[in-house]
């Protein structure tokens, strides 16, 4: 049985093709302005990588904010369930999933069977999300990928008091003007994001193992700061950005079986 999962997020879209328990291929693209087009493109890219035709795929499940605009999906499932399912597949001992995506963050508690028990979402503003990091990285003249390494150079942590994307950007600019070294600023930002996320997680209750998914998990600085704030080691999958799509592909197996 071959199944597909498509995760259409606000910043990026991912597709995963799965055969049994094996990932055949995956792809990641920017969503851009047209979510429907992004879903088609990302799926096509994954099919090409796997050398498959769409007719060979038994079922596709769509997730993410754009899940309703994926015409070839047999079912739409929320990113909450998909991240839980994907993380559970990769880490069977996981009980808490933290997903920081492009525009929101979620904490998901799951049981020993990979079912969601409870969740919390912060989607009121982009503070502490992928979009936030993008804006700040630009102000620091770094790429998002460089932020983690930059933070490792810091010997001290600059204090960032604002988490509003707009205010934090101007705070960062003024710290640069005051001559605060860039690594310290980056470390301060990571800490601020971690504390905010930890607050959300603690409201739900953190049960180890804790797995972080979503694009921001690629930033080792945020992961380290989050581990410290939570007081538990935060595990990260090899490719954290595709966990939602992976979960969708796993749920598509159920669709085929039902």
């Amino acid at each position: 049985m071959i199944t597909g999962g498509i995760d259409v997020g606000s910043l990026s879209s991912e597709a995963v093709l799965l055969k049994g328990g094996e990932i055949l291929s995956y792809s990641i693209i920017d969503t851009g302005a047209d979510a429907r087009k992004a879903a088609e493109q990302v799926y096509q890219a994954a099919l090409e990588r796997a050398g498959l035709e769409s007719s060979e795929v038994d079922a596709v499940v769509a997730t993410g904010y754009g899940r309703l605009v994926v015409p070839f999906a047999a079912k739409q499932v929320t990113e909450i369930s998909c991240h839980a399912r994907g993380a559970f597949f990769l880490f069977p001992e996981v009980r808490t999933v933290i997903d920081i995506g492009g525009q929101d963050s979620k904490v998901i508690r799951i049981d020993g069977r990979g079912n969601v028990v409870d969740f919390m979402m912060n989607d009121k503003c982009a503070a502490g999300t992928g979009r936030f990091l993008e804006v700040i990285a630009r102000a620091l003249e770094l790429s998002v990928a460089e932020l983690g390494m930059e933070a490792e150079k810091a010997t001290r942590v600059a204090e960032i008091s604002s988490m509003c994307t707009v205010f934090a950007e101007s705070e960062v600019v003024s710290l640069i003007a005051q001559g605060v070294p860039r690594p310290e600023i980056v470390r301060g930002l990571h800490q601020a994001i971690a504390e905010r996320t930890a607050g959300l997680a603690q409201r739900l209750g953190v049960v180890p193992q804790v797995v972080m998914t979503g694009g921001v998990a690629k930033n080792s600085g945020v992961v380290a700061a989050l581990s410290q704030s939570l007081g538990v080691k935060v595990l990260v999958p090899q490719e954290p950005q595709i966990v939602g799509a992976l979960g969708a592909a796993l749920l598509a197996q159920k669709v085929v079986q039902s």
Partner: protein, 428 residues
Amino acid sequence: MDLYEFMRGMLRGQRWGKVLSSPLTYQLVEKALLLARGGFRWRATYLMGRFALTQTRRAYTGKVPVVWTSAFFPVEIVWGLGLCPFSPEVAAAFITSLGFVDRALNRADQDGYSRDLCSFHRCIAGAAADGYLPAPAALVASTHLCDGAPLLFQNLAGHYQVPYLLLDVPYQSTPEAERYVADQLAGIWNRLSEIAGRRPDPSSLARAIDYSNQFRSHLEAVNALRCRVPAPIQGSEMLNYLYVFFAGQGHEEAAAVFGCLARELEDAAGCEDRERFRLLWLHLKPYHRGELMHFLEEAGCSIAFEEMSYVYWPPLDPERPFHSLARKVLSHFAYKPLQRRVAVVDALARKYRVDGIVHFSHWGCRQSCGGSLILRDALQEKGWPVLLLDGDCLDERNEAPGAVLTRAQAFLEVLEGRKAACGGMGEQ
């Protein structure tokens, strides 16, 4: 015929005060209501429409002094004087259903009402400033539960240059508190009669108390019938009866609405397709065009019961009207330590055999949302899945529609997982 579309057409681009004070308007709407009657699922809805229409005509045509009452004020006092109570919160929900809320909210924005305030109050403030609402002879607000209403009413009393009366309700329900509230109610009764130039008539008040008791017992009958599975009526439908809940108690027609509904529910068959999940709904629902309620319906959810319909007060004594109304006010389960609301919600969830509980956290409503996290934790400890759904009953701008639906869908997925695992709480 679509009654709302008809009324929208009448009011769009018009000066509301002029349209709504014309007797012709009511003749037309009454005809439209009659024509629309066949489309209502319940005859009770038609009766409520007729009742609300008659009272709206009384209010706008200046036939009788209008008294604005805040959502939790005991309106029996006003009916007992033969005056016309007007519930601006209900009017705000109606303005929203008609699709005119943005105009009122924008006006409130311009007048300096903060966006952090409850949109019911902002809509009222804007609609009052724009002259949409019937001019009151007095405004009466109660301090229990809704903390925004007394401040808004005070402001609006200045706007209309009319007296503002306040019912101060203590938090503890003791015999002294009961006497204190009863004395104030007697004072308000006297003061309103002076303002309206009416002689206070105890027998008329006793009649209002009697109607209020009828309302109560019919509502209890409705609630008892709602224990059936599948649910004979949806919570989303019950939440359309705001007018009788907040403005009708004490009038015979409001009692008749639920009397009729109880009779109708006796033979009503529920919809099996909507029993995939049974939900208990806390607080109000969106009255704007958002997709949430439709989404839940499509997903096969039954809102088996809602907090608003719970009969929390004991029957009233027509011989001691002020004391029994004081007891009614003081017995509200949400105007107590949070454990009380937890206990009530838990009991309702069991009684109506629900799978999960949804708290619609209306932006700016401190009385309902202030303790929602604690409420949620306590209910979860009792084994209930709980969703705190952030939204706004009137102001769509305060909602991220995708996020509301994602949360709702994710909650249903949680319920699905639980059902698959253990058959759900409803089976206990």
